[in-house]
Amino acid sequence: MTTRIGVVTFPGTLDDRDSLRAVRLAGAEPVSLWHRDKDLHQVDAVVLAGGFSYGDYLRAGAISRFSPVMETIIEQAKAGMPVLGICNGFQILTEAHLLPGAMLRNNHLHFICREQKLRVENAETAWTGDYTAGQEISVPLKNMDGRYVADEHVLDELEAEGRVAFRYAVDGEAADGYGNPNGSLRDIAGITNAAGNVVGLMPHPEHAVEPLIGTGRTDGLPFFTSVLKKLVSA
């Protein structure tokens, strides 16, 4: 049986096509999910793609979080289904309280769009098994509200439990994609829940899956192959 991975489209989602494509390139069957449809159509995992759902009105992700499809996703995520939130999807996951903390306007107030170096901190989540801890990867970053914040005690807890999944790599030149691009606390680019099935990050692995496109790197593909392996071996 093929593994089915769903990608949700909200009004204002931009990266659903690229996410579906990444799923297909990884060898799974991509399934489009619609925000008003509670039914997940027997998918084994879900990707919440990037974009500006509901125009970022109120707060990024705040309105999408209450959509019919999210009711089922929240329920299934709590039951262990792998869920990946990319950019706006990460914002939706924090608004839904599936992941702690919140995302705020970049500290420099500019939209940022660049190639970003990341360090993989946790290679044991459902979405990072094909990486090795400490590995450096390069994927596109493009957002306005990317500054990760949380209480000090939440940050300490995330660090202590190894739940910082990705950090912005800061030991290098900005021109080469290094540095904290938005003022995120402790250089956090992505986190996981305690169970490791829910992962959110601001940069875009789904844009780095084909050698012919962009910078020619496929550093984002392991997200999708990792979850596929995890599901097949489960």
């Binding site: 109120l58 608004e95 919140a102 705020l104 500290n107 003022g183």
Partner: protein, 81 residues
């Protein structure tokens, strides 16, 4: 109809770069003497029916679950005369 106002502000410990940008622009425009600016959101709710305790409780719940993200924001609920 009665109006209830919900004010939402970033918590004091959260950096507000928008407020800072406004504050930095003020002297350039000739407005001196403002030490700090923080920017928030104001929601004006036109309430159907009486604004009794039950209605205020509902609005409080609404602010807590939706209008504000209490991870980063505080809110106040006021009935306008």
């Amino acid at each position: 109809m009665a109006r209830v106002v919900v004010d939402v502000m970033l918590k004091p410990e959260i950096l507000d770069p928008q407020g800072q940008a406004v504050q930095r622009a003020l002297p350039r425009l000739g407005f001196e003497g403002i030490a700090d600016v923080r920017q928030g959101k104001r929601f004006e709710l036109e309430v159907e029916g009486p604004v009794d305790q039950a209605a205020l409780d509902r609005i409080h719940k609404m602010a807590e679950t939706f209008l504000a993200n209490t991870v980063i924001e505080d809110f106040t609920v006021k009935v306008e005369a």
